[in-house]
Subunit: 710 residues, 2 copies
């Protein structure tokens, strides 16, 4: 069982596979939710006993009705609540008394309407707790299970969907009706279909945990408006993908953030919630889709076809133009056009007319009938250099569309390689598309979408093959020191650490801070400088001064004792003139390093996903170009390298254009240690190391400036 | 009449509006091209006389047939050639003798098959020239004109499309059949529909010129595989947009280029043909679409609705989830959610239930029936702060889809503001969508596509409003000097100019080159240096040395006569040691400027679009980040500013993060002068000014290095 879910598998299972259902609040008024749900369950031939519960009716649709749920003489597995929200708590209390442990609460009028609705939601949560009830909802469309052993349509959707291998869970009920309608037209079936509404009890994590072990579900789709627990979502997703290989596709709204909150650090300002969500989903292996159509485009490729071994595709078309458009998108999506073997080339030459193009993309020419598609596909799919086929058709007057659909879908069924199709048009090609879709061969209206879907399957396959090493924990850190500094600052009600404190914390986690010392007098400054060697930097240390530069509190590149002494005196005078009230702890004397590439490492806490690490090149790259990447902590070593490789300016670190190669390994080590610090010390709200000076390969890197916020 | 077309409007018109047609090569074998074309013309009720010409048949479909076209007793306006390619030239010769001046050549087997096909194509071109024949094709699907005065379906498409205001021209015939099928299902009509195939005579420019003045055509769509004449295409597009306001949407394949050719300049290496095509289309106002679906999504917004006055949209939905998804895409596409007036807010509050969301996006709630859509849309469309409405519907069991479709389309018809719809799903919503589409209200399966289409209309409207000033021609340039230098280099068979020559050319076009002089001895170098002032740079001048740095041929930052003398001697020795054979003209002594932002200005000749200018920041920005933008020459001042603003690192020039503002005006002036040079001297193949050092505002800029290739 997974650690990420608050529910047991059995608790969720009892909702999907009841042997008896009470519809509490059912009525006879067709076209209303209470009635539609009752009739939907009845119509779908539910494999168990259905009880209407209604204060008014003696029977509904010839089925004996009970006034109260407690009146039902037999045991009831689940109750579906369709009463108005104002009386739900009373009905729920009775369900508890009846010993019902699982419920679906359809009724709206809870948290989503605010005010009294929030109280009502808390009330039903309390009752659920009291009786140990697990429930889906409130404010949802319901739950559908197409398993022939159950056949439950406990929803007010218009129709029961076909059975299939796609599990769909959604936070929006209204979107579900659109999805069901869309899917039915394409003969796309579902294993489980859940609208989970306000998720007052059971949430997406619990449902994912269930679908992980649901044998009917091969592909998981979800629509989310807000993530309940980011870390748990990532955890369960990684578990599902690594243990079962089931792909998870997500549509998450809220892409345009409300604007990053005014934050004191660069990381805070740059890590908008949607950027972090993007990074988190990618890190967890969740495929984030742009819209419903893209989600189902990918879903059918995953659900109906094997994953491709690699990315070498063959395109077969009866139209040059669309062949070119498909090739463009294939290449853009990271696919390659397979180079056919001599044998295949010979076979194509033999079976196709001279005007045909026998090179990939293969053009069987506009007047092609089924035979040309069949012979060319047969030899192409046998070719070892081909990882999958994509077939395009346009409807010329002589194109025998239905016959071609029939023949090629037979070939698709027999081939162990992925096989996607695109019959372009609408009316003329409709009958052909219908044949293909009924046989569960993926079909796409646009060749471009076909290519993107093949690429999605290929990328998922590639990901399944990559190994992630276990998290490295450094034993040489001194978390006690770090914690005591943070505790002290917190006790003083401070929001910022001084740089001296920041350096000490980083030092305690063995980050490469430069030799330094706090001087309280000119003499001390001179002594420390001599000890650590020139050049040095002087920085004013005061809890009251955040922007040291602005008050003359920083002096760079001091090369002698005399320069240090002079600078010390001048700085003190400047600062006192600028901020006479500031409490000054002294001046930090720090070794100065010249050269190296400036990078930034940042840390912030995302409301949803928790600690997030940021990486980018410093200076204008972060400030103007915003060329930074994010990962959620904890983060494996491979993932850190991946994050570094993803920035656009990456080649500045690898020796592009005659530059020297930089010590990326040492940066990765720093990020690992900061991640560990973030986990050990949740008091740290934000952190910037800016810049970290990265030296040439083998030369390590140095923290030159740091800012830590509580 | 336009200057860009090789044809007169009347020549093209005669093909679209013939009073008599001969189908040369017609036969009775149904399901073949020669038969299908004849029957298509007949079936469509062509408003003129149709003559079959067939060597074998006496009549086809009860219409008297002629053995040869010359046998037809009356005048024939156009001939449609459907004979096999091998005999086309003979039939064409007869058409010429018959005095036919306009033809559509459907037959395939010409240039597209290579070899003898190329000869056949040249042969028919020669015959056309001899007789003054204009023709469309060969290798095409044909031509359709839905004008009730003509009703010509001279194509082998399956059916005649509906009449409408979209003009469609396509290089691919097979794509046309898919497009017609796709459009028919959505009740999208066409004014003219042309498959122009190999464009051996009439090409896209001629057709655009015709559609510009075609009163039936409101929106122009085109599919191109290669552009015949880039400058002419841009010219006619700009003319159409500025003179008629008709939008032009293009689908252009070949997005993934064959890899930029190995070029000697940065500009050459960065300007892939597709990047240039993107820039050229944008510059000309052509809207480049990603795929057929996007093209028609935009087309119906343009064809059916007025352009929005601005970008403040209202979203009305019966489902929260899709409302959020639409809002995300609206914002991302540059739209704004309108803020309703108090009056509107009051009206919404009055007419909608308390659980509804009366703020934009307005949620009329899942159980909404037509009345809620009607009352809210009525008040919203009256609101002066709303520029257009986008309506979303999802099919709940109580949703009266057909009624809603009927009611809102009436409102749409009465409103002067753009009105787009998205009924989500497929089967359940089909009848509603059909009503909407039949009434020519734009409908989109995805709310996201609806938002993108609204944004496309808004962006086009914005573009129509921007003024482009006439091209500035500088009179102070000395083109004679430039030309004589180029002539001399060409006569010596050189591919590169020396830097001295390059500087002279730039100087002759009044670009800000630094004071300099060519020294042939140490003494001369010292003298020149003293005259222009220190610091100076020395650079070896030799036609044989391209990479001066590599052979020790450059010395920077020389601050005194002594340094200049020493450097001169050392450089001569170094270069002679490294390249003893090199012919050395001397050493260029040039003023050195410190500071300023490095930018690059480049020039190259694109195969399709001609001279192209490039702009970007220098150094790593061009080399690693490839942060550059292109425009096709000639280029208006506003367009140059726009190009500069488009680079990602633009804010480095405008004073971001405490930097100083740079003299962008002086850069624009440089680009204008380089553009003029490119037009005056077509011998210049590529040119890099890298870097141009841009000083603070008012300080101008300086050319420090230049490379010119022939």
């Amino acid at each position: 069982m997974s650690n990420f879910s608050k529910k047991t598998w059995e608790q969720i299972h009892s909702i999907f596979y009841p042997r008896s259902i009470a519809v509490v609040g059912a009525n006879k008024v067709k076209g209303t939710v209470p009635s539609d749900i009752f009739y939907n369950i009845l119509k779908a031939d539910f494999q168990g006993i259905l009880y209407p519960v209604s204060p008014k009716e003696q029977f509904i649709a010839s089925v004996k009705s009970y006034k109260y749920v407690v009146d039902i003489p037999d045991a009831v597995d689940i109750a579906i609540l369709v009463f108005p929200s104002s009386v739900c708590h009373m009905a729920m209390e009775q369900c508890g008394q009846k010993g019902i442990k699982s419920m679906i609460i359809i009724s709206a009028g809870f948290k989503e309407v605010g005010g009294a609705g929030i109280d009502r939601e808390n009330q039903i949560k309390d009752i659920a707790k009291k009786y140990g009830i697990s429930f889906i909802g409130p404010n949802c469309l319901g739950v559908i299970n197409t398993d022939p052993n159950c056949m439950m349509n406990a929803s007010f959707a218009r129709e029961m969907p076909d059975a299939g291998s796609i599990g769909f869970i959604s936070q929006s009920g209204a979107l579900c009706t659109a999805v069901l309608d869309y899917a039915r037209a394409k003969h796309i079936g579902f294993s489980k279909f859940v609208s989970f509404g306000n998720k007052a009890d059971i949430n997406e994590i619990d449902l994912l945990m269930y679908l992980k072990n649901d044998p009917q579900t091969k592909v998981i789709l979800m629509y989310l408006e807000e993530v309940s627990d980011g870390q748990a979502l990532m955890g369960i997703a990684q578990e599902i993908i690594s243990e079962t290989g089931k792909p998870i596709l997500a549509l998450k709204s809220g892409r345009t953030s409300e604007g990053a909150s005014a934050a004191a650090s660069h990381t805070g300002a740059l890590a908008g919630s949607d950027e972090v969500c993007d990074a988190a989903f990618e890190q967890a292996g969740i495929i984030r889709c742009e819209n419903i159509e893209e989600m189902f485009n990918y879903a059918i490729a995953f659900a109906y076809q094997p994953l491709p071994q690699s990315n070498r595709v063959a395109i077969i078309t009866n139209a040059g133009g669309p062949g070119v458009l498909a090739t463009d998108m294939a290449i853009k999506s990271g696919l390659e056009l397979a180079k056919f073997s001599e044998e295949t080339t010979k076979a194509l030459k033999k079976s196709l007319p001279v005007t045909a193009n026998i090179k990939n993309p293969v053009d069987v020419i506009g007047d092609a009938r089924a035979d040309r598609y069949v012979t060319s596909l047969t030899s192409i799919l046998k070719d070892k250099s081909v990882d999958g086929a994509m077939v395009i058709l346009t409807p010329q007057s002589m194109t025998d569309i239905v016959n071609i659909a029939d023949e090629i879908s037979k070939i698709a069924k027999e081939s162990p390689k992925p096989f996607l199709t695109s019959f372009m048009g609408a009316s003329d090609v409709a009958a052909g598309i219908d044949i293909i879709q009924k046989r569960n061969i993926p079909h796409y209206q646009l060749p471009e979408d076909m290519c993107k879907s093949f690429a999605a399957a290929y990328n998922f396959k590639k990901r399944l093959g990559t190994k992630i090493s276990p998290l490295e924990i450094f034993e040489d850190v001194d978390s006690k020191t770090a914690k005591s500094i943070l505790k002290k600052a917190a006790s003083e009600g401070r929001k910022f650490l001084t740089e001296e404190e920041g350096i000490k914390i980083l030092d305690s986690y063995k980050l490469p801070v430069l030799p330094n010392g706090l001087a309280k007098s000119e003499d001390e400054a001179a002594m420390i400088a001599e000890k650590i060697g020139f050049p040095v930097v002087l920085k004013i240390m005061s809890e009251d001064i955040v922007h040291k530069f602005d008050v003359g509190g920083v002096r760079l590149n001091l090369n002698s004792i005399e320069e240090v002494r002079t600078a010390y005196g001048e700085m003190m005078r400047n600062v006192k003139a600028a901020m006479p009230e500031a409490r000054i702890k002294g001046i930090l004397v720090q070794k100065m390093v010249k050269g190296g590439e400036e990078v930034i490492i940042g840390l912030k806490r995302d409301y949803t996903f928790g600690p997030v690490i940021m990486f980018g090149l410093g200076g204008i790259f972060v400030e103007v170009l915003k060329d930074v990447k994010f990962r959620v902590i904890p983060v494996a070593k491979e993932t850190i390298y991946e994050m570094i490789r993803e920035i656009k300016s990456y080649h500045l670190l690898t020796g592009a254009r005659g530059r020297s190669k930089k010590d990326i390994d040492s940066v990765v080590n720093c990020i690992q240690r900061i991640s560990q610090l973030a986990v050990d010390c949740p008091q740290i709200k934000e952190l910037d190391i800016n810049p970290l000076l990265v030296q040439d390969e083998g030369g390590g890197c140095f923290v030159t400036d740091t800012k830590i916020m509580l």
